[in-house]
Amino acid sequence: MNELLVRAVDSLAAGAACALVAGGIALALSVRRPINLSMLVAPGAAMLIGGSISGICTSPPGWGIILLAVLGSIACCCGIWWIIDQGVDRPMRKAAAPAPLLTAAAVLLIGLIVIERAARLWPMDLSDLASRRAAPATGSLDVPLVGPLHQVTWLIAAATLGGLVLVLTRTRFGLAMRAVGYRPQTAGLLGINVERMIAVAVVIAAALAALGGLLYGMHQGALNGLVLLRPGLISAAAVVAAGPHRPWAVVATALGLGTIESYAAMALPAGAAMRDAILVIIAVVAVLARPADRCGDGVATT
């Protein structure tokens, strides 16, 4: 039973990290249409940058180094995705229908290649950063079930997403951002700088994705191509299952999917090898049952 609880706690922390990533992607999706696909690799990029920063410093890292790695990776990701938005996505915003999505796919491919190459050239392990997690499933009673890293993950996820809700619903800035999401042309007529709002949303989304990705990576340890992509994939599955126009449903679904996927990977006999198959099955079953349509607007957009 102790092992079951340890796995459940670990899975819930991984799920919270995925919820952060999904929050970022849902924000980018609600403001910036069509979806910025390259955002799916932002968590992986953050893991690599955070691992590089912590690798330069002394080991084992203290909380200061962890903070530096987190802030450094967030800043780098914000910069990279701002450049992508301004340099690649912005000129395609008014192009004919499939061109922006195709451009987004091309940028995703470049991102995939870059992080896969980087992971191969500089193999990294975030277990140093994750050393403050509770001990693995040894059954020992003197190890606390909930370690500092779990607490930090839950706290950061709750505080960040709660802060985002407050900003989006209680401030003029949030109102302007939502207006751009609903009707960009009308928002522009009202005096809102649409392009600036989109750029700010992309930067905030990249920051959330980076933060979530780094926290997820700390729970995984060694990084490879699939670990780097997984938080983005879970978020994509959450968007598919919950519907792209319900950001908070996406966040909740990502929390559930991340927790279940992580638990299944740890607990099932062939779970580690079948992680992405589990994700595909969960996503397809979730969409077949169409739970999103039962919870409110099931508006189909064509």
Binding site: I35, L102, V107, V240, I260, L288
Partner: protein, 453 residues
């Protein structure tokens, strides 16, 4: 006095709008009236000649005096890439959907075809065993699908009790399944619920069916028959996967399909046989280049005919305006599903051929990156140009086939090329035109219009 209706206005025949006879814009081409068999011979004569030429020319590469094994492999892989790109052209160009999963469907076809050869030691020269294996697999899958459909149907029906009940039930179901399986694995027996017995139960159904069917089938037959069975099964499997994907994304935003195919591509890449290359028996001596070349030719002709047929025009109408298409009697979802399934079926056939070209099959060929690269090939060649796509597929596939080590760098270059092309020349290299004269496409349309009348 009754007003006389002018002759230029066609009478209302009471037909549905989609069935109205619309005068073609190419009136200068006179429709010919031949016997149906003569018409068939004229329509397919060139194709038959091309197949004969390929059969004769392919002997130079496949025959006893083969030029080189590497060249044979490279040319076969290029033909396979042409098939993949032309299948994707139907989805992206004609139907207007964006799929990142073409390489995933290719992987499904390849692994479904390789499955009995690798795990069951069934040989291509024993098509009876192959048929028994796939029949057993189909029965097992049908049993699993019926069980899943009952469960999902009950969950969907539960919304009549309370609106959010399906969400709760689905969450409980998934958690129940995971915890039960995990506990069963931990304890080493199957103590609890039905989920723990699902895997062994399905395997038992498969083994029992396989054993029951095997003695009734012939022991050995032509190797080509075995290959044909592999191709048909791979085609059906990839098409079925595409059908499920299309059903789940029907009537939703294009992002659904995009993300679902993305997840599928990554799932196929990472989970098939735990990332291990499929170990296949040695090459069978099939004329594989000839087979690949003929399959590529048939795929190109099939897609060309579909694009210029009533179905193709319906797909284009849906692409341009789904609501307008629906008002004239075209079912948008059906057309989109048809395009995705046909494109995936072509990819499945390519996958079945891939099992005989080069060994082993490495899952890295089927991931997300190759899927986006296929998309780049279609964009660079031209989303509305079959000949442009074929040329781009043949030209751009050479680098990864000849220099596998440079694959990733080449992929990055293709992605940059795709971005540049979308900005500077969105219709592709040939600007949406074809290498053959436009009258050929028009003749196809006229023949079809005659057949409809």
């Amino acid at each position: 006095m009754a007003l006389q209706q002018p002759e230029s206005i066609p009478k209302d025949t009471g037909n549905r709008p989609s069935e109205l006879a619309i005068e073609p814009a190419w009136g200068h081409i006179t429709p010919t009236h031949r016997h149906p068999w003569a018409q068939f011979a004229v329509s397919n004569g060139l194709l038959a000649v091309a197949i004969v030429v390929l059969l004769l020319g392919g002997r130079l590469i496949d025959g006893p005096a083969a030029i080189a094994a590497n060249l044979q492999t490279a040319l076969s892989l290029i033909c396979i890439h042409i098939m993949l790109a032309i299948g994707l052209l139907l989805v992206v160009g004609t139907s207007g959907q964006i799929s990142l999963g073409q390489a995933g469907f290719y992987g499904i076809g390849a692994y479904v075809a390789a499955w009995p050869l690798s795990t069951q030691a069934v040989h291509l020269t024993h098509p009876g065993e192959l048929l028994s294996f796939y029949t057993a697999a189909a029965i097992t899958l049908a049993a699993a699908a019926v069980a899943a459909a009952i469960i999902i149907g009950l969950i969907r029906l539960s919304q009549r009790i309370i609106s959010p009940m399906p969400v709760l039930l689905l969450s409980v179901l998934v958690l129940w399944c995971v915890i039960d399986l995990a506990t069963a694995a931990q304890i080493g027996r199957q103590p609890y619920l039905v989920w723990s017995h699902a895997g062994p139960g399905l395997r038992a159904i498969h083994d029992a069916t396989f054993t029951a069917l095997a003695p009734t089938t012939p022991e050995s037959a032509s190797i080509l028959l075995g290959m044909l069975i592999l191709i048909v099964v791979a085609c059906l499997a990839a098409g079925a996967a595409a059908g499920v994907i299309s059903l789940t994304s029907a009537g939703r935003s294009p992002i659904h399909l995009l993300l679902l195919t993305l997840i599928l591509a990554v799932g196929v890449r990472s989970s098939l046989w735990s990332n291990a290359p499929a170990a296949l028996p040695p090459a069978t001596g099939l004329p594989i280049f000839t087979g690949c070349a003929i399959a590529a030719l048939l795929a190109v002709v099939m897609i060309w005919r579909i694009v210029h047929s009533q179905i193709g025009r319906a797909m284009e109408t849906v692409r341009e305006d789904a609501v307008a298409a629906a008002t004239i009697g075209i079912a948008p979802r059906r057309q989109q599903m048809l395009a995705l399934v046909l494109g995936a079926a072509v990819a499945g056939i390519a996958g079945a051929l891939r099992t005989q070209v080069q060994r082993p099959i490495d899952p890295i060929e089927f991931g997300l990156a190759p899927g986006i690269v296929l998309l780049a090939i279609v964009v660079i060649g031209g989303r509305h140009s079959i000949s442009g796509t074929v040329i781009a597929a043949a030209a751009l596939s050479i680098v990864p086939v000849v220099w596998p080590d440079a694959t990733m760098g080449w992929y990055a270059l293709l992605a940059v090329g795709m971005i540049v092309m979308l900005r500077r020349r969105p219709d592709g290299l040939l600007a949406g035109s074809e290498l053959w004269p436009p009258a050929w496409n028009r003749k196809t349309a006229i023949r079809e219009s005659e057949a409809t009348r």
